[in-house]
């Protein structure tokens, strides 16, 4: 009887832990997909799929965009990015809310030839809607 109880308990724990890892995995994949859509493929369709209607998108210098402005800006972005990397991704999940942070590094070459070294901490808030994680807020912070 006791053995059975332990078995059932551990099965529950396993399921719970598994759900957590599954969510973490899904959120991490979204972070990377969003990162790729913004800095590598400039894929507005992916951004539409990954963001909530009410998303607010903050840049490191204080500019704040809504969903439409963000998608427009990304698809019309003429900068070329090289050596772009997403490092130290952390995911914190509580219920249907997730907060992710990562460190972005790389080089931005603007249309006029100006080269800037990028080093940004990016924080994002995600909400789970109908089984999919959607970005609700994003803010970049310039770091040395």
């Amino acid at each position: 009887m006791k053995k059975l109880f332990i078995l059932i308990c551990s099965a529950f724990l396993f399921v719970a832990a598994n759900a957590q890892t599954k969510n973490e995995k899904a959120v991490t994949e979204n972070v990377l997909a969003f990162h790729k859509a913004v800095f590598i493929s400039k894929d507005s369709l992916a951004l539409e799929q990954l963001s909530a209607d009410e998303v607010t998108y903050g840049h490191s210098k204080g500019k704040l965009e809504n969903r439409k402005q963000m998608i427009d800006a990304v698809s019309k972005n003429t900068s070329v990015y090289s050596n772009i990397e997403a490092k130290n991704i952390t995911v914190i999940i509580n219920g249907k809310t997730a907060v992710t942070r990562y460190w972005l590094t790389g080089i931005e070459t603007k249309k006029d030839g100006k080269v800037t070294k990028l080093s940004l901490n990016i924080i994002q808030a995600w909400v789970k809607k109908a089984k999919h994680w959607k970005m609700m807020g994003r803010q970049a912070v310039a770091v040395d």
């Binding site: 903050g58 204080g62 914190i92 924080i123 808030a125 807020g137 310039a142």
Partner: protein, 151 residues
Amino acid sequence: MMSAEAVQRLIINMKFFLIILLFVCAGSSAQQKNKKLQTAVGNFYSALLDKDTAVLKLLTDDKLVYGHSNGWNQGKTELINDLFNGKLTYSSIKQSNEEIVVDKNTACVRGKIDVTVVMSATKLNFNLYSLMVWIYKKGSWKLLSRQGIKL
């Protein structure tokens, strides 16, 4: 005695009334949630100023990450201990231009924030922009994450 038609009309009217009532209730509870959030943000800043660790414990999630504009991150325990041990003393916090977006039980709160803090006997003033992520759990809002950005 009412005719069958009258009864039917009454039922339709009642259904209509109930639907309206439902919308009004949903609307007011959303409004209440919003109001609760604004109060929570205010209470959080007051608790930082007052070093009220009991309130801070209530208003923050266990998984809290409190990010400062220079890249320093505090967890829940650190945030509370650093105040309690005197590592940090907030002497003024003023928030303006608050913008709140609520999606069910998740909220993003953005705002400008002017902070004066004493750290290792040095008074520092920061003019920041901040993003807070709050979650609604069992009838109250809890801070899950915060990030400060230098303007």
